[in-house]
Each structure stands twice: as structure tokens, then as C-alpha cells.
Symmetry: C2
Subunit: 695 residues, 2 copies
């Protein structure tokens, strides 16, 4: 064992305590902010109840799934229990459950604080941008700190107790499988509500967004919380754990050399969390009062602090390599660059959004065609960025010895995700201020306050693009290193079976090629299933909204005291999401099993590659075109190209409706799908070696 490792375990737990303490402080700070508006209080309560009901029902479904999975793991993983390795199987199953539970807790607490912050943000928006920004941001930061704290806690505890990094893959799979379904379920819920509310409200009736007459309006606000807060939290928890786990699996396989690689992984994770704490503590809207600027500059501050601290650590500690530092720095910088290029395609001060807005003047078909085209083009810089960072990290670390090249790539992913605490804070800020805007509208806080809330909201949208670039990039690098982890796991199993080892996955091998083609189709089918889920559900909800407008007297006219049946819409979104959240994820896992049990490790290697590549492409395409359409619509609403109510606006609303499930349901779920499939492959490598039809 590395001599410094106990120190870093200790420091890990200490930093986690610090992060939790800081999160508790922020939570209490948000909680003590005054509330006074009874209407806001009431709606806020409705949102909270809706979100909690959905989460309770969702977790009930997921608990059953997790229980089945845990039993299967107990019996089969890492190798069939009849091979006699009880301890490993039990550890793996327990680690798996721990992964799911920590993920669920992070999501649950995120919802708690988000539903606490939204009303308070709305009310303080009456006093101006500065105080409202702080409440929204700090509410989001609670989630950020918790997610990163939980992942560091879990990873350190599992490795310290078992001493076996392979068990970490079980923990990571727990986090990922929950994230896969939570993201799918939350994503379907939120977009069902959002799409239905927009289509009936804005398009058919011409009433404003968040108008309390619209029966879907509460469901829409609930969706922001369960989809964007809880789902996104689970997603980044998963990415962060997967990045650390794959780095640690490789680090352990390298142990015994001159470098203290395991210590280094923990040290970087600790410093990343530490840098995020500083970034969060210092975030404020400056004198120019620009919230986008505030969010971005604290991201850059966190990045700089991380790079300096890790450089100091590399100089101070024994067995830390500058090459590894450079690899993680490359990862982090490329993450920033991907964020900036994403921003170019989705920011309404840049030409692309304006071109799509202009094309909308010729009708919705042009909105769709131009938005999709730019979405496809936007994938190029990010793909090149990931390709270059993997290549550079590999080349920097290859001279350190065999296996270090892949370790370098995994550390580039760790580097990219090091500031994830900051990223989640920015990301969770979005739905909180989005809710706050709705509450300001429903609470009748007046034009001025709504405008302030709008400004906060728009900053959330812009920053989202940057953070999505980060998380897709990091997922790309993580799964490359998981491919390495899969190969070493498969070779261990092959060696145990006395068979020839794999030296690589040659695309000229027909098995590998077979895997690549099928793997590439999976993200397409996966995202299609999620989108069809939203599509079907939203059609049902639109019908329910029409029914309410037609049968509830005075609702359409807004007669005092007449209320829509909000609960019905929440119910439709909930039951639809619960029905649709399992199939897509299960299909991806089943496809992995089919390919693995037919073609063995070589086919799976190809399958993972195909899955990663087409997954990244489709995820970038969907996230960016969705963001592009959203901002084109907002750009037109700001009075350009004919403004609200024009033909261009109608076309842009259709574009935005298409983009909603792209960017908030399918696109961001693909990350998790890729990670889950990679983990399943690694975990089942022994079984694939033992039982595949072809070898």
C-alpha cells in the first residue's frame, strides 16, 4: 500500500465534513430568508408536494429495480458465487446498494433545498438582482457540495474498507443505474409538463408562461425540480464517481511502481472539492450586476485555484508526477474550451442563434432544419476537443511506463470533473431561478420583479450550455478509461480461464466490428424511446388541459377564485414518467448482455466504442440544438424578427418544443447511458468470458 494513502483517506473524510458543514450553513442561511407573500407560499407548497410525491413514487419503483439488481450482483458478480468468492460478492452487492442510496439522498436533499429556495428567491427579487442571485445560487450550491461530498465519501470508504478497487465499479454502477432511471424519469416528467404548458398556454391561448390559469403550470415547476435538480444531481454524482472509480481501478493495477497514484487521485479530488468551496463562498454579482458573468467568473476562479493547489501538491508530495498533473490540467482546460464553443452555438448574442431566429421567419420547417444542422455542426469542436485531450493526455503519460497512458486519460477526466461542485451549483441555480420566475408571476409580484427574475433565469440558461459541455466531455474521457478498465478486467478473467489474453480491440476483427455497429445504434434507440415517452405523455396532458378549459367554467377567462385542477396534470406527468423510465435504460443494458453473450469480450470492446462515439455525437447534437432553439425563441421574444406573436415567434415556439426533450430528456441522459453500459461491461467481463457463444 502507498504510505501516504492513510493521510489522504483522512483528508478526504475531513474535506467531506467541511463540505457538509458548509452546505448545512448555506441551507440554514437560505432558510432564514424571510417569506411574506401568502400566494407564493401556497404555490411553493404545491410544488414541493408535487415534487415529493413524484420522488417517493419514483424511488419506490427504483428500489424494486435496485433490489433485483443487488440480488443478481450477489449471485453473479464479480464472478458466480458458486466459484466460492462470497466476500467479494457480498462487498459488491453492498457497494452497489450504497451507490444507489447515496445517489438517492443527494437527489432528495437537492429537491428539499431547491423547493425552499425558489419562493425566497422570488420574494427577494423585489429587492433587486443581488440578493435574489445569492439565494438562488446558494440553494444550488447546497446540492453541489452534497453531491461531491457524497461521491468522495463513498469512493474513499469503499476503497478503504475493501482495499479492492474492482468493488468500486459496483459502487459506481449503483450510482449510474439510479442516475440512468432518475434522469430518464425526471426528464420525461419535466418535459411532458413543459411541452404541454407551452403548447396550450403560449401557442393556443396566448397567455403568458407561468400563468396560473394553465392547469400544467404547477407540474411544469415541479418538473424543473425533479428533472433538472434531482436528475442532474444524480447524473453528475454518477459521472464523478465513475471518473474516480475508473482512475482508481487503473491506479491500483499500476501500484508498486515509483508513483503514488491512488493517493494522487484522492488528493486531486480533495483539492477539487476545496477549490469549489472557495469558488462558491466567493460568488457574487459584481457591480455591473451581470449574473452570467458572476457564474462564469466563479467557475474560472475555481479552475485557477484547482490548478495552483494541485501544482503545489505535486511539488510537495512524494511520488506525484508532473506528467499526471499536466494530463489533468489538459482535461480541465479542454472542458473549459468545450464549454466556450458550446456557448458560441447557443448564446443569443452570437450569430448562430440569430440565424435560426431569422430562418424562423420563413416558417417552422426552416427553424427545425437550420437548428438541427447547426446542432450537428456544433458536435465537431467538442468531439475534436475530446479526441485531442485524450491523445495529448496519453502522449504525456505514456513515457511513465506501461498502463500510464490510459491512466493519464482517466486523470484528464478527473481533472475535467474536479470543479464539478461548482458546476452543479451553477446548474442547480437554473431551475431554482426558473421556478422563482414562475412564482413571481403567480404571486403577482409585478413587472419589475418578473424582469429581474427573467434576467436571473436567462443567466441560468446560458451557463447551462457551458456546464453541459463539461459533463459530456468528462463522460467521454471517463468511458475511454473505462474501456481500459474493461480490457484489464476481461484479461484477468481470460487468464483465470487459461485462455489467450486480449491485446486490444482491432476494428478489422469481425467481432469488434460487429460490436461497433450495434453499439452505435443503441444511443439512437435509447434517446428515441425517451423522446417518444415525452411525446406520448404530452399528448395525454394536452388533452387533459383542453378538457379542463372546456369544462371548468370561468377558467379561460381568469374569473377570480376559479382554479384549474393542477393535481390531475401532476398525476399524468408522474404516471407517464414512471411507465416510461425503465424500458429505455433496460434496453441499453439488455443490448450489452446480448452482444456480450454472443460475441464475448471482443464484441463488447467494439460495442463500447460504437456506443461512446455515437452517444457523444447524439448527446452533443441534442443538447446544443435544444439550447439553440430555446434561445432563438427567447431572442425573438425580446422583440427581434417581429417579436412575440409574429409568425417567426410561432415557428420558434415549435422549434423550442422539439428542442425541450432533446436538451432536457434525451441529450443529458445519454451520458449516463454510456457510463452504465461501460460499467455493466466491466462488471460482467468474467461472465462474458465464461459463457459467450463465440470466443
Amino acid at each position: 500500500m502507498e504510505t501516504q494513502l492513510p493521510l489522504f483517506y483522512g483528508l478526504s473524510f475531513l474535506t467531506v465534513v467541511l463540505a457538509f458543514a458548509f452546505a448545512a450553513y448555506l441551507y440554514l442561511w437560505v432558510k432564514k430568508q424571510k417569506t411574506s407573500n401568502a400566494k407564493i407560499e401556497e404555490v411553493s407548497q404545491l410544488i414541493k408536494e408535487g415534487a415529493n410525491t413524484f420522488m417517493r413514487r419514483e424511488y419506490k419503483v427504483l428500489a424494486k429495480f435496485a433490489a433485483v439488481a443487488a440480488v443478481l450482483i450477489l449471485v453473479f458478480l464479480p464472478s458466480p458465487i458458486w466459484n466460492g468468492n462470497f466476500v467479494d460478492n457480498i462487498s459488491m452487492a453492498v457497494a452497489y446498494i450504497a451507490g444507489t442510496v447515496l445517489s438517492a439522498i443527494a437527489g432528495k436533499i437537492g429537491i428539499l433545498v431547491a423547493t425552499l429556495s425558489n419562493g425566497r428567491t422570488a420574494e427577494s427579487a423585489q429587492k433587486g438582482l443581488k440578493p435574489a442571485f445569492l439565494i438562488g445560487f446558494r440553494g444550488g450550491a447546497v446540492m453541489g457540495l452534497l453531491v461531491v461530498g457524497c461521491s468522495l465519501l463513498g469512493v474513499a470508504a469503499v476503497l478503504m474498507i475493501t482495499g479492492n478497487s474492482s468493488i468500486l465499479l459496483g459502487f459506481s454502477f449503483g450510482a449510474s443505474s439510479l442516475a440512468l432511471f432518475a434522469k430518464a424519469g425526471g426528464g420525461i416528467f419535466t418535459k411532458t409538463a413543459d411541452v404541454s404548458a407551452d403548447l396550450t398556454g403560449k401557442v393556443e391561448l396566448g397567455i403568458p408562461e407561468d400563468d396560473p390559469r394553465n392547469p400544467a403550470v404547477i407540474a411544469d415547476n415541479v418538473g424543473d425540480n425533479v428533472g433538472d435538480v434531482a436528475g442532474m444531481g444524480a447524473d453528475l454524482f454518477d459521472s464523478n464517481v465513475a471518473a474516480m472509480a475508473s482512475a482508481l481501478v487503473i491506479a491500483q493495477s499500476l501500484s508498486g511502481g515509483a508513483y503514488n497514484n491512488i493517493s494522487m487521485v484522492f488528493c486531486y479530488a480533495i483539492l477539487g472539492l476545496f477549490a469549489s468551496i472557495i469558488g462558491i463562498a466567493t460568488a457574487r454579482v459584481g457591480k455591473n450586476g451581470n449574473p452570467t458573468h458572476a457564474l462564469n467568473s466563479s467557475t474560472y476562479v475555481t479552475t485557477a485555484i484547482f490548478l495552483v493547489l494541485t501544482a503545489i501538491a505535486t511539488a510537495v508530495f512524494e511520488g506525484f508526477s508532473w506528467r499526471i498533473w499536466a494530463a489533468s490540467a489538459v482535461g480541465l482546460l479542454v472542458g473549459v474550451i468545450i464549454g466556450i464553443t458550446t456557448d458560441y452555438f447557443t448564446d443569443d448574442t452570437k450569430p448562430i442563434v440569430r440565424k435560426v431566429a431569422h430562418a424562423s421567419g420563413s416558417g417552422p420547417a426552416f427553424t427545425i432544419l437550420s437548428g438541427m444542422s447547426y446542432g450537428f455542426i456544433s458536435a465537431l469542436p467538442a468531439m475534436v476537443g475530446i479526441a485531442v485531450s485524450a491523445l495529448v493526455a496519453y502522449q504525456i503519460c505514456a513515457p511513465m511506463g506501461e498502463g500510464y497512458a490510459i491512466f493519464g486519460i482517466s486523470m484528464a477526466a478527473v481533472g475535467m470533473l474536479s470543479i464539478v461542485g461548482m458546476i452543479i451549483s451553477n446548474d442547480a441555480y437554473g431551475p431554482i431561478v426558473d421556478n422563482a420566475r414562475g412564482l413571481a408571476e403567480m404571486g403577482g409580484l409585478g413587472e419589475e420583479t418578473i424582469r429581474t427574475a427573467d434576467e436571473l433565469d436567462s443567466a441560468g440558461n446560458t451557463v447551462k450550455a457551458v456546464t453541459k459541455g463539461f459533463s459530456i466531455g468528462a463522460a467521454g474521457l471517463t468511458v475511454i478509461s473505462l474501456l481500459g478498465a474493461f480490457m484489464s478486467e476481461a484479461n484477468a478473467a481470460l487468464a483465470a480461464a487459461g485462455r489467450e489474453l486480449i491485446t486490444g480491440f482491432d476494428i478489422m476483427s469481425p467481432m469488434v466490428f460487429f460490436g461497433v455497429l450495434i453499439g452505435a445504434a443503441i444511443p439512437a434507440v435509447f434517446s428515441a424511446m425517451l423522446i417518444l415517452g415525452v411525446d406520448k405523455n404530452a399528448q395525454r396532458m394536452v388533452q387533459e388541459i383542453h378538457r379542463q378549459f372546456n369544462t371548468i367554467k370561468g377558467l379561460r377567462e381568469g374569473v377570480e377564485g376559479v382554479k384549474p385542477e393542477y393535481g390531475k396534470c401532476i398525476g399524468i406527468a408522474t404516471s407517464g414518467a414512471l411507465r416510461e423510465l425503465i424500458p429505455a435504460g433496460l434496453m441499453s443494458i439488455a443490448a450489452t448482455l446480448v452482444v456480450g453473450f454472443i460475441g464475448g469480450p471482443l464484441a463488447i470492446g467494439g460495442f463500447l466504442l460504437g456506443n461512446i462515439v455515437s452517444g457523444l455525437l447524439i448527446a452533443l447534437f441534442m443538447s446544443n440544438s435544444g439550447g439553440l432553439w430555446d434561445n432563438s425563441k427567447k431572442y425573438i421574444e425580446s422583440g427581434e424578427e417581429g417579436g412575440k406573436g409574429s409568425e417567426a415567434h410561432k415557428a420558434a415556439v415549435i422549434g423550442d418544443t422539439v428542442g425541450d426533450p432533446f436538451k432536457d430528456t434525451a441529450g443529458p441522459s445519454i451520458n449516463t447511458q454510456i457510463t452504465v453500459v461501460s460499467l455493466v461491461a466491466s462488471l460482467l467481463s468474467t461472465l462474458f468470458v465464461m459463457f459467450s457463444i463465440f470466443h
Copy 2:
């Protein structure tokens, strides 16, 4: 040399003569059909002139491109001329020019006969389905016979004269590079006109398709010819040549063994052409009068004849292997299966089209979301089919010796394309009857005749889906074998340079992975550029149409004698297409050069894989979702879901407009893009080995 080879050269030329003679007979048969309607004659003439003008201007641009390419080939390929291999360089340049010229001739004659057949088909539709079908089909068959005849002629001549199969890659590159630009140019032209005509005519004014008042109507009909006839002919000429060339390159590398592989490739090509001639000669609308049935059953007849004839040949000739026969049979059968699954997603008697039509009732966003989702899902069976056929062909032929596995895959592609003569006939039938429908409308031939023409047209649309599945599948298998061809070319260059040979393309190698990621992004960017070309152009044309309706008195009302300025619209489509046709293709070629000169052969291997996989995925997605939207619209127009003029219909028209450039511009061009990039890689392998920055 194989002893039977002279015989097969002789038989090849004889079969080509037979095919050309039969084509001439069909041409004269079509020509002698009577015409009497002056109005149809006049419009037909306008279409012919428009098409010829465009083709002339397009070929002028392409001639310049080809001249530059030929000079570059002369200097640099297969290796720099200062290395002293003048003869090879001259042969390669001449073969390249021959490829471009034959491709251009096939396109030109296709246009000639298509513009001859359209009016005659319209007039004979007055007499019923049977005679009209025969004229439309035989017009298309002239193109089919010419394309296959030209490809067999060219390939046999080049190989017989030079004896060097590498020179075939130059011939194939000539065919592909012309196809790439012809397809892009024709595709942009046709969809610019189609989209503009639909949006202004059907949506804004509510006048029928092909109403002579619409200024874009002639341009739309011209587009059918230059896009679907000439472009598609160039595309399949290219696929056919590429499949034969890659099989022959591998066959020559295997020569000297027990098998007469080169003879076998020619024998199969001869029998494929022969089977197509029989299929064409016997195609007739049966008693039930169903043209779809007639087209499909002659495809199946051709398939069966081919399988029987090749089985006999395999039994009769020395050195022909049953394993190879089985591989090509697998290819052909999988092609048929891909066609059938494609049909499931795009046929309006099947549930998917109806689901999308139903979703349209909730608005255009649902049309788009559901159509896209099913488009993504539809890619899965075809990807699995290609994967399985490659795997099976490989496994069947691997026992024959080293190199035979890849030869098996290339023969699966040859098998899939063996009936290409029949496929092109079916495909070219489509735009001819589409034009005929327009002419029947404009010539005032009455409701009954228009209904007959509609029925013929609808059969063309359905069959198109099947033939597209074929051509995408064949392109997939061809480029897999081109990957093999690239490896052997690169190894020859590496051996000449005294460097270590490549044993494969391991995806764990960072260079390969780097190539994969960038290669995967290229088809996305390529298709986006083409779609944006259509998008921009159509916006311009819509403005022009509005101008004509606003300034030409009596046009909107249809006052007798008032004519729109058709030429203006043709001019916009032409100049737009010429401006946009070069950049996308050039981008793909440039990306190959950049990756190759940076990362060398390993990066290129990965690049080709990424390009193939994402190219297939995007091509299938775009072709199928486009077909799906088109048929959903037609299904609604047949009176379902509210029928013409309903909200569902409006939504479906938007879906169809989005789908138009998907299925007729970008989707089918991706095939060619993949082939061109693979050929460029093979041709430049020596240069990449000599000059790449990294090795």
C-alpha cells in the same frame, strides 16, 4: 494470371453490349409512343430545357474540379511522380478521368430518357395503369442498364489494360468524386424547388401540388430529374464500381492460390447484369393492377435468378468457391431484409406511419419528435443486418485462408449490389411518374388520369424505401472491404519505407481513437452543410415566389394567359445548388487529409471506422424519417386524421418539408461521402506514410 480471366473479360464486354442494345431498344420503344397534347409537350420541353441547362452548368463546374484533381493525381498518386513511376501515375490519372466521364454520361442519358418518358407516361395514363406503368418503368430501365453496363465496361477495361487493380481505385475515385458533387448539387436543386413549391403553394395559398400558377412548379419537376434521376444514377454507379473495385483489389492480392477470385468477381457482375435484364424484360403490372407489387416482384425474380445462375457458375467453373457464393448470397438476402424493415417504417399501411400521422393532430412539434424518434429506431435493424452479414460472410470465408475473410465481406457487398440494374430501374421510375403526375395536372388531363398517375407515383415512393435500404447496406459492406484495401495499401507503403507494418487498428491506440472521434463527426457536419444549403436557397426562392404573386397581375387568381416566370425560380435553384455543392464534399476530403497528415495510417483507420459508423447511422435516420414524414402526409391527404386542410395535415406538411432534404439531399449523399473518404484514404496511403507528423 487466372486462365479463365480472358473468357470473363470477353463475356463482360459481350454482356455490356447486350445491355446497351437492350437499353437502346427500350429507348426507341419509349420514343415511338405517341404524344398529342400540346400543353404537355410545351411543359415537358420546359422541364427538359431546365434540366439540360442545370446539367450543363453543373458539369462545367465539375469539369474544373476534375481537371484539378486529375493533375494532382498525376503528380502525387499512387506515389509522387519524382519517385519515377510515371506509367502508374499516368494510368491513374486517365482512369480517374474515365470514371468521371462515364459517370457524367450515365447521368446525362438518364436525364434524356427521363424527360422523354414523363410526358408519354402522363398521356398514356389516360388509357390506364398498365401502359403508363410500362413507359415509366422502361424509361427508368434505360438508366439502370446504362449505369450497370458502364460500370462493368469501365472496371473490366481498366483492369484488362493495366493489369493493376490499384488503378481501379483511381477509376472508382473518379466515379465517386463526381457522384459526391452531382448528388449534392442535384439534391440541393431538387429540394430547394420542392420545399419552396410546397410551402408557398400547399401551405400558404392552398393550391394543389403541380398547379401551373406556382412559379416553382417547373423547377420542382426539373429537380426530380436532376436530383433523383441523374444524382441517384451517379450514386449507384459509384457504389457499384466501388464494390467491384474493392473486391478486385483484394482478389488480386490473393491471386496465385487455388481460387480464381478475379474471374469470380467478373462472373458475378456479369450474371447480376444478366439477371437484371431478364427482370426488366419481364416486369409488368399483373391482373390485380398493383404497380408496387409489380416493382417488388421483379426485384425478387431478379434476386432468385441471380442466386440460381451464380450457383450454376460456381458448380461449373474451376476455382470458384461455394463459400464465396454463400457470402454473396448472404449479402443479397440481408439487402432484401434491410429493404423490408425499411419498408415497415415508411409504408403507410404499417403502424409507424399511422402513429406519426396521429401525433400530427397535436401539432407540428409532435410530428417532428415522433418522426425523428422512429427514424432513429429504424436504424437499428439495418445496422444489425449489416453487422450480421459482415460477421457471417467473414466467418464463412475465413477458413479459405488469410485475406479471404475480408474478400468474403467484399463479395457480400458485390452480392447485395448484383441486382443494381433492377434497383436503378425501380428508382428512376419514381421521378418519371412523379413528373408524369405533374404533367397530367398541368396538361389538364382530368381527375381520372391524375388518380392513375397518383397511384403510379405512390408505388414509386414505397419502392424507393426498399432500394435505399439496399444502397445504404451495400455502401456499408463496401467500405468495410475498403478498410481492408486501405490496410493493405498502407502496409505496402510502410514496407517500401522500411517501417513496421500495421497488424490492425486497435481502438485502445490513442491515434486510432483520435481518428474515430473526428471521423464520426464528419457525416454530421457534411449533412448539416447540405441541409443548410437547401435551407438558405429555399428561403431565397420563397421570397421570389412571393414577389411574383404580389407583382404579376392575375397570377394568384389564375386568369387565362397569365403565366409565372418559371425561369427565375429555375435560375435561383441552379445558382444556389452550384454555390453549395462543392463545400460539403471538399470539407470531407480536407478532413481526411488533415487527420491523415497528422496521425498517419492508424489515425486514418480510426477515422474511416468512425466515418462509416456514424455515416450509416445518420444516413438511415435521415432517409427513413424523411420517407416516414412524406408518407404520413400522404396518408392524411387520403382522408385520415382529418384529411387535407386539417391541423394534422398542416403539421404533416411541415414534417414533410423537414424530411425532404433529409431523404433526398443529405441522407443519400452520405453513402457517397463515406465511399469517397475511404477511396481518398486508400489512394493517399503512401503519402500519409511518407509525410504524416506523427507515426
